[in-house]
Symmetry: C2
Subunit: 389 residues, 2 copies
């Protein structure tokens, strides 16, 4: 008897590949044969500091290997609440802070809480690809608004008001942005908040690159009011990608529902990760992280002029994260082909624009400066030879 394979659900068909992950996989295969330089990844090259690792594992050795409360261990929720006081001067009740399975878990819980099938959530194009995928998982869609260097690749209040339509249910802002590393002006974000509020919509702000900002220290969207979902993470500034630990500041109206969903969908975040997270927030860890932040800034300041010299312009200087979004049109109008050719010829892996949306995606690549200065220099030299051919 012949049986045909069952059909994938629509969402499972629609969700696009995470191209940066695909390229990373190809780069790993190449790495077995020769030299590769990964400028495609979304994580710091720094390992988690030893004191943070030891805090997680000491907790596990003393028996913290069981489920925790679904919303997270109280010491971590309290420490995060205190973090908002210390860093931003804003009171965020620990009860509104939900510890999550990475920012991915935070994003999923936020969208699952309010996005009905058919709803649209407005966001910039380019933006982080998983925003779209999680919305597809909800049967909703991303309402992509093309943005450019003139608005620092961020939405404006005027755009949000103009583009709002019957299906628009909310707005998502990421600042600093992935892939562009550019932050939104705090006044503009406050104005967007007012527009969203007046429309009866929901504002979600992704602050996972907070901490990794250069020359400025932006306020948190949590200071705008308790109606904002704020997504954050231990992955980037705290160098804890592999621990899958993030958090979500939740508006009071969604808290009970998110508590139910967290218990069913995740049970809880990993216990050793949560105890490591407590240590990551301590001043002794901050001292380590600030040294690493300075190193990231040094790399950025090297990379941008070096790229410009080979005709790869970065139209808006990034003030955060560890990405530059570089215009390749001096060499190609096919960023996918450009990235693939570069990888095959030189072992330098970069991410083509199409991972981040549609708008001028063929004209841009994202490069991560998450390699050491000598590696960056070697990678740039290989690129220089490649584009000069």
């Amino acid at each position: 008897m012949h049986h045909t394979a069952p059909r994938l659900a629509t969402r499972a068909q629609l969700i696009q590949p995470f191209y940066a992950v695909d390229i990373y996989r190809q780069a790993l295969v190449l790495a077995e044969k020769g030299r590769t330089i990964l400028m495609c990844v979304g994580e710091p090259d720094f390992h988690t500091p030893e004191r943070v690792v030891r805090a997680g594992m000491d907790a596990a050795l003393r028996g913290e290997t069981h489920y925790t409360q679904p919303l997270g261990i109280p010491p971590l929720r309290r420490a995060l609440s205190q973090h908002y006081v210390n860093r931003y001067g804003v009171d965020v009740d620990a009860e509104r802070i939900v510890v999550t399975v990475g920012a991915s878990g935070a994003l999923t819980l936020a969208f699952m809480a309010f996005a009905e099938p058919g709803d649209a959530i407005m966001m910039a194009d380019p933006a982080y690809p998983s925003n779209r995928a999680v919305l597809t998982g909800c049967g909703a869609t991303a309402q992509l608004i093309p943005v450019g260097a003139e608005t620092r690749y961020q939405l404006t209040a005027e755009m949000v008001d103009r583009e709002w339509n019957d299906r628009t249910r909310g707005v998502m802002i990421a600042s600093p942005s992935n892939p562009t590393g550019t932050s939104i002006d705090p006044g503009e974000l406050a104005a967007i908040h007012q527009v969203v509020r007046a429309r009866g919509g929901v504002l979600v702000v992704d602050e996972i690159y907070h901490g990794l900002t250069y020359g400025h220290q932006p306020p948190s969207a949590a200071s705008l009011g308790d109606d904002v979902f704020v997504v954050n993470s231990f992955s980037k500034y705290y160098c804890m990608t592999g621990w899958r630990l993030g958090w979500l500041v939740v508006p009071p109206w969604a808290l009970e529902a998110i508590s139910r969903m967290q218990a069913h969908f995740y049970i809880c975040p990993a216990a050793p990760s949560q105890w490591a997270g407590v240590a990551a927030l301590e001043p002794e860890s901050t001292a380590i992280y600030e040294v690493q932040r300075a190193e990231m800034q040094r790399r950025r300041d090297y990379l941008i002029p070096a790229l410009a010299e080979m005709g790869l312009q970065v139209p808006c200087e990034p003030d955060g994260a560890f990405y530059v979004y570089a215009d390749i049109t001096a060499h190609s109008r096919d960023s996918w082909g450009f990235a693939m050719g570069l990888l095959q010829a030189t072992g330098v892996a970069v991410t083509p624009g199409k991972d981040f949306g549609d708008h001028r995606a063929n004209e841009f690549i994202r490069m991560s400066y998450t390699s050491s200065m000598p590696q960056l220099e070697e990678g740039l030299e290989a690129m220089r030879r490649h584009v000069a051919r």
Copy 2:
């Protein structure tokens, strides 16, 4: 200006509380004032073995603190593939084994892969509550089939065939079952597989309590064919609940889609957890786990007659997991009130039947034997006095 709170999405309204988690929370509050005995939890009381913790820690200290490949680290996928050979004598290609964020993550990926909004997935009533919640998250529903002791609280092929309707998209079996601890007959499972296959549906089998079986060693549903989704976990037998580590055996037709969804929804499972998982599968760990399994069996053998003596019958002897599903009708026909009264009066926390479905839910409680023998004896003595009042 007054602003009304935005509306929760339908799914967020529909998902029921995880009552066992609520009761656990109440028990923790009580524990601050006096003695409590937790017979409501879904995890072993044994901590993760030290050698497993140390393997996770050593990996993190050597820098395994970064994202892993989305589907999991190759050594763990290979070790799991070998586990199927060693334990079940069945070949499961490591490529089809996806490491997940707990069994919760496995369940979510499986249902997201094939359950369209409006679809129904058939399962026993009573069953694990999060099955229903994850389906609600997909816009789908659980098609609950009342079962009793006469079928060991499991579906039969006859039931599946009889109850199949136009909305039925698949069948989920959990064996051993939570809340009843009873396993399905392997021949019956094979017959269900045939019915589901003939209907063009999808079979999902939850084997998270495999390893914790008493007096028998069931085959894996992976041996039925590569068209079965098999959900498994390091949480129960391996005593790793807090590490959030599970796995999913994926049919070939769904593998590429699940790879995309894993990357977007989770990025990857926690890296230290994955390295700990490798150690959990080693023979030196098995030796520890087998001692703990014997202790679980000893507790079960104590508990069932002790409950019967106070009029709490367990209609079908559990042959796995660490639960008994006890009939309380000699004392009450309101299991919620019974559980709450018991908790308040004695500090003994049990889970009322309504966490697991509708069918005779008021007549049953689930009790976990995840406390030491002295604690179980103390708890049972307190229950004895309580029901005799």
